[in-house]
Amino acid sequence: MKDDRSDRMDRDMDNAGAFRRARRRGCPFCGDEVVTIDYKDPQALRYFVTERGKIVPRRISGVCAKHQRELTNAIKRARNIALMPFTSNE
């Protein structure tokens, strides 16, 4: 006989599985090869930083590990040449 806790865990796992199947998130750069990561295009990079200027983690943006590394480099280069902010207090 299952106790309450294991019942709840089973339910959570079922929900999580259903959630993942429904989402089907994928890397926005892997599917479309036309989209490139370029530090000289801050408008495109803005999608991957928060309002404050922090880099959005890939668990949220859904970017694959390889492209997240490239993205991080590009954002840091753009910040260094003042095309993007390090932080914003607005």
Binding site: G31, K40, R46, F48, E51, P57, S61, A82, F86, E90
Partner: protein
């Protein structure tokens, strides 16, 4: 035992550099900087492949008390020591407030490069005078609401710390993407 040494041509690499000039830089001063860069690249046996002037732009943060700067971007091919020499020269120029060099291609064949002579000419700087925003003081004092910049998403830092799986947006579907 005889040792044969084959003299290989020095390896050439492709770089790109962006430098920022003060917003109130004069046409003559910008011209001097351009000719100095041209001279250094030639002296170090390099080759300019592209020059672009992006004009005066708003900076994301203040650099040497400047809120705007004139951006110049150029690409070149060169060997050992060219970047160091170029950056040493840029560092000495008072009107250059910031610069950054990025390696694009670690090994290139210079003979393959066909350069358009017009693309490697530094443009003469013809910008209107840099006028400080008249409403800047009023905005700083809070009389006017600051303009919010266009952003790609609306995530706040708290969102990232406290986000749950249900809040994760689907970036592939732009219609209901960022929440």
């Amino acid at each position: 035992m005889a040792v044969f040494q084959i003299a290989l041509p020095p390896r050439q690499r492709e770089y790109e550099t962006i430098y920022l000039m003060r917003p109130d830089v004069t046409k003559e001063s910008a011209g001097k900087i351009a000719s100095r860069i041209d001279e250094v690249v030639k002296r170090e046996n390099g080759k300019l492949t592209l020059v672009e002037t992006w004009g005066r732009r708003q900076l994301s943060y203040t650099v040497r008390r400047c809120k705007r700067a004139v951006y110049v971007y150029f690409k070149y091919v060169g060997g050992n020591g060219l970047v160091a020499e170029l950056e040493r020269n840029l560092r000495m120029l008072d009107d250059v407030i910031k610069f950054q060099t990025v390696l694009i291609n670690p090994e290139v064949d210079v003979a393959e490069f066909k350069v358009d002579p017009e693309a490697v000419q530094f443009e003469e700087l013809n910008l209107p005078d840099d006028v400080e925003d008249e409403k800047a003081l009023e905005r700083a004092l809070g009389f006017i609401e600051p303009q919010k910049h266009a952003r790609g998403n609306d995530f706040t830092d708290d969102d990232i710390e406290n986000i749950s799986d249900d809040d994760i947006p689907d970036l592939n579907n732009t219609k209901d993407g960022a929440q």
